[in-house]
């Protein structure tokens, strides 16, 4: 697939390719943070992941559920022999089994996979927007950008106040709820439309597809660059099976969410793909 059509728009930034390893990680913590949402902390002996990259885990030693599931990194600490965290939603059998694992248990993991978020250029204001499954990677990105001396705006959207996870969110985080029960009433896209900086900005997004499509539209309208992390069903997670295809915006076929992404420059993908 890589050989077809023009090359991707790949800006400089965080690590794009890493040495991938499969190993049994040890679960350090697995705590609920909101209704149906949990934070998992794992020992990590592979290469340090970048925001936007992901791991896959084997949900069961039996054949059901069968396929490995992707989880985006929410943080990393320490060097090799460190730990990583992910934030996940219990929404199927695989994540239900994961939720039942306690500290000390082993988990078959593989990673780091995929290409992460690029860094903003020095004149761009980083705007980080998302919600749902995008929460983990966006918090990771926010932390990394702050550590690099940048001052991103973090805008997180939730259905309602009760769905906001009990996590230490950075000071100044703009919270949005669909029903107005906490923070701004509306979506992160609405918030950014109203509070956009006058100068150049770079939009970072991760979350449900309609939100990504809206962020891509907003970025195009304002002339901003946007780096969006896409979600797609995956079988292998390493670029071999061609299962996680996303349509290219130039009509030149498809890109793989797992290996060409999951973070894409907004202009590279046709975000109108079926949800």
């Amino acid at each position: 697939m890589e050989s077809e059509g023009p090359s991707l728009t790949v800006p400089p930034g965080f690590l794009h390719h890493s040495a991938v390893q499969q190993f049994d990680a040890r679960i350090i913590g697995n705590r609920p943070v909101a209704e149906s949402w949990r934070e998992l902390t794992l020992s990590w002996e592979a290469e340090e992941p970048s925001p936007g990259q992901f791991l896959t885990f084997r949900p069961s030693a039996s054949s059901a559920p069968l396929l490995r599931r992707p989880l985006a990194f929410a943080g990393h600490s320490g060097d090799s022999g460190g730990r990583v965290s992910v934030i996940y939603q219990v929404r199927g059998e695989a994540t239900r089994l994961l939720a039942g694992l306690e500290a000390g248990a082993a988990l078959d993991v593989l990673g780091p996979l995929g290409r992460g978020f690029p860094l903003p250029s020095s004149d761009e204001v980083p705007l980080i927007a998302g919600g749902g499954i995008g929460l983990g990677p966006l918090l990771f990105l926010d932390a990394r950008l702050r550590a690099a001396g940048r001052s991103p705006a973090l805008v997180l959207g939730f259905r309602t106040a009760a769905a906001i996870p009990e996590l230490e969110l950075p000071g100044g985080t703009a919270l949005c709820t669909d029903d107005g029960s906490a923070g701004f009433r509306g979506t992160p896209v609405d918030w950014i439309s109203r509070n956009a900086p006058a100068g150049p900005a770079r939009l970072y997004g991760c979350g449900p597809l309609p939100m990504l499509a809206a962020l891509a539209g907003l970025a195009a309208e304002r002339g901003w660059r946007a780096s969006l992390s896409a979600e797609q069903w995956m079988a292998c997670g390493v670029g071999a099976c061609m299962g996680c295809a996303l349509p290219r915006s130039d009509g030149g076929g498809y890109l793989r969410a797992c290996a060409d992404g999951p973070v894409f420059e907004a202009g590279d993908i046709d975000w109108r793909l079926r949800p």
């Binding site: 697939m1 050989s3 077809e4 040495a19 991938v20 390893q21 499969q22 084997r58 054949s63 059901a64 559920p65 069968l66 396929l67 490995r68 078959d108 593989l110 797609q232 069903w233 995956m234 079988a235 292998c236 997670g237 390493v238 670029g239 071999a240 099976c241 061609m242 299962g243 996680c244 295809a245 996303l246 349509p247 030149g252 076929g253 498809y254 290996a259 793909l273 079926r274």
Partner: protein, 323 residues
């Protein structure tokens, strides 16, 4: 004494009976860091067609009970890109490389094989580098697997695989184009797989592999539409294993050429079912997605089972099934 693991497919000798199935490891490089490809019996590449194919609209995959559906649509860069970009990498392989070929017409299958023959050069099974694993000729192509069983393309693919006369004609045409071993990959979506296997043998195939995927569909009831954009897809994984084992059992009794078994192999015991059913070798496919170490575990388990049961040669296993 350690068991004898080599298996013969026509004039090709594979170092061991466990291969990596087409469409599950690309052309090898994607899994390089995770799978010890060179220690396996064979690498069966992703299908190669004459022109580049972008593949089907997404969603292309969905999980099913103990299995998965895929409708990739033979996405591949086309034979010219294969020759220019993939073949140089495949020449470095120390395991046998079986190139999976597909087409919309008999002529396209033949053109693909002819182009690869031209690029790979002559082949002789005896020309092994010192220290190389049996099977690898160093030409990048040690045989062809003819995909007449893909359920996800409109023309060719499975349409060939369900008609004995077409299978025989296609195999014969390819037989004229190459001296390399030819493996015909069969579809289980037929009434009588034995007659299809026999047709491949009559056309000059060196082996048949079975099974490719079973046609399946999953419907999203809330949305009231199929989950896969193409509607149907091909079912693989442990859910299809009993179908695969029975297909191998039937095919092996219909032909004298080796049968290569695949479909839902996750463990050595799964692979041994296929071998006992009559398969001379096996392929691990979906199992690699689940656990990249799967094929290695399967091979180690077969060796351990042979040692525990005092079986000297892996090629003897197909004769051990009790009535």
């Amino acid at each position: 004494m350690s068991p004898e693991l080599a298996v013969r497919i026509g004039s090709l000798e594979l170092a061991n009976p466990v291969g990596l199935a087409s469409g599950t490891v690309g052309y090898g490089s994607e899994y390089e860091e995770l799978v010890d490809i060179d220690s396996m019996g064979a690498l069966y590449t992703k299908a190669v067609t004459m022109e580049a194919r972008p593949g089907n609209r997404p969603p292309r995959i969905v999980e099913t009970p103990s299995g998965m559906l895929n409708s990739i649509g033979l996405a591949n860069p086309g034979v010219e890109a294969f020759v220019a970009e993939k073949l140089p990498e495949l020449r470095k392989r120390r395991c046998a490389v079986i190139v999976n070929v597909a087409g919309s017409t008999e002529a396209e299958y033949r053109e693909v094989v002819e182009r690869i023959e031209e690029a790979a050069g002559p082949w002789s099974p005896g020309r092994l580098e010192p220290g190389a694993v049996a099977g690898a000729s160093g030409t990048g192509v040690d045989g062809y697997e003819v995909n007449v069983s893909c359920p996800n393309v409109r023309h060719g693919g499975m349409a060939f695989g369900t008609d004995p006369a077409q299978i025989e004609g296609l195999t014969r045409s390819l037989r004229d184009a190459t001296s390399r071993p030819i493996v015909v990959k069969l579809t289980p979506n037929v009434a009588d797989i034995a007659s299809i296997a026999a047709a491949a043998e009559a056309g000059g195939a060196d082996a048949v592999s079975c099974i490719n995927t079973l046609v399946g569909m999953v419907i999203d009831v809330k949305a009231r539409r199929p989950v896969l954009a193409m509607g149907t897809g091909g079912l693989s994984g442990p859910a299809v294993r009993p179908v695969g084992v029975a297909s191998c059992y039937k095919a092996a009794r219909a032909v004298g050429i080796p049968v290569i078994g695949l479909g839902g192999i996750l463990s050595a015991e799964d692979a041994l079912q296929y071998l006992l059913a009559g398969a001379r070798a096996v392929q691990v496919g979906t199992g690699t997605f689940v656990d990249p170490r799967c094929a290695r575990r399967v091979l180690a388990g077969i060796e351990a089972w042979m040692a525990a049961n005092s079986i000297a040669k892996v090629e003897d296993i197909p004769g051990l099934l009790k009535p």
